[in-house]
Symmetry: C2
Subunit: 212 residues, 2 copies
């Protein structure tokens, strides 16, 4: 596609007090660049500015530097993911197995729907200057505290429903399950054609949830 050139329309300036809107437009522009199939290298200050229809230095009013944009993107997508997982769980009713597959499939679907976003979120990189406050640790624990406890809850429900073998460490099992999902999601996001049978996801989930 290579949409380098863009909007000749000059973009109306925001009203007074609404300057903060540009911040969201910048994030959206960065996400759009990723969704066009470009990797993180395609998200430069200047390309983001072009995409958003603004001048490059205008970004500095809202972000300290380029990595900060990526950080904001990751945080936003992390939130989206957490929300999607909770939604999937709530819409799955009370059947434990349905809940399990709903949550896991929601995770896999979101990753497959936006491969580049997923790569940014969990692929490392994008953190050249933010070495100390590296988000990978902090925000993975934030998602870890949110999504992993959700996974652990679902696993517990499965055990209590008698459809899964229990364990002395459900949180550890949740981590293992997540790692399996991550392996599949990441590989799908990277190679676009996975080797192996079509039901790998089901196999992974069943095995890691210790379904009977």
């Amino acid at each position: 596609m290579v949409t380098g050139v863009t909007n000749t329309e000059p973009r109306r300036r925001n009203r007074r007090g609404e300057g903060g809107k540009l911040r969201d437009e910048i994030i959206a522009a960065a996400v759009a660049l990723l969704d066009e199939g470009g990797d993180e290298r395609a998200v430069t200050l200047r390309s983001v500015a072009r995409k958003a229809g603004i001048a490059a230095p205008s970004i500095y009013a809202h972000f300290a530097d380029q990595p900060s944009i990526m950080l904001a993107v990751v945080q936003q997508e992390m939130d989206r993911l957490a929300v999607a997982l909770r939604e999937a769980d709530e819409n799955a009713g009370s059947d434990a197995e349905k809940r399990l597959f709903a949550v896991c499939n929601a995770y896999l679907d979101l990753a497959q729907a936006h491969p580049q976003r997923y790569r940014i979120m969990f692929g490392g990189l994008w953190t050249p200057s933010v070495d100390d406050t590296s988000i990978s640790d902090a925000d993975l624990e934030s998602l870890g505290a949110e999504a992993l406890t959700l996974l652990a809850d679902v696993l517990r429900a499965c055990v209590e429903a008698g459809i899964a073998h229990g364990s002395d460490d459900l949180y550890g099992d949740a981590v293992a399950l997540w790692l399996g999902l991550h392996g599949l999601a990441h590989q799908r996001a990277v190679v676009r054609k996975m080797p192996g049978p079509a039901d790998v996801a089901e196999r992974l989930i069943k095995a890691l949830a210790h379904l009977k």
Copy 2:
């Protein structure tokens, strides 16, 4: 560490007929840059040349362009990995469970020993210009054909030894097991401090191999 500056010693030129040696030195230099903790962006034509003690254009005698260097690195490391897995299997004796853990741990250890190399191998990216002949598909099948059949063999041995529940698709199980290993290896390579218990690897392997 930031070792930007380097060897003032001017590097003796190769003898006649041995010009090809430089090719290996270039690959080694690229790997060294990765091992220093830099991500793939640190592997530029010029930085590789500096590391190898040569002038940047000298690379063109051995590589068509910059992505070709990364491609060579990936292929070399893929081979290393395949060899390491076979070695681990052969040194594990004939006990099926020992073989299983030996192979899986060899995979995880190699990934943890060289996180950046692992990220390059399976993290996608590094292929900006090689879109059609993208190695991710071709060489993952090469490793997929090598390492995955090895995993399937070990799984079969476990089933035949009566320590694992069988399945109608051992290759599919091998893929699932590899995906779990990959998830753990990749996550370790990226965040440097994993959440969850210390025995996650064992849990993953046991669950995905369907050990009794």
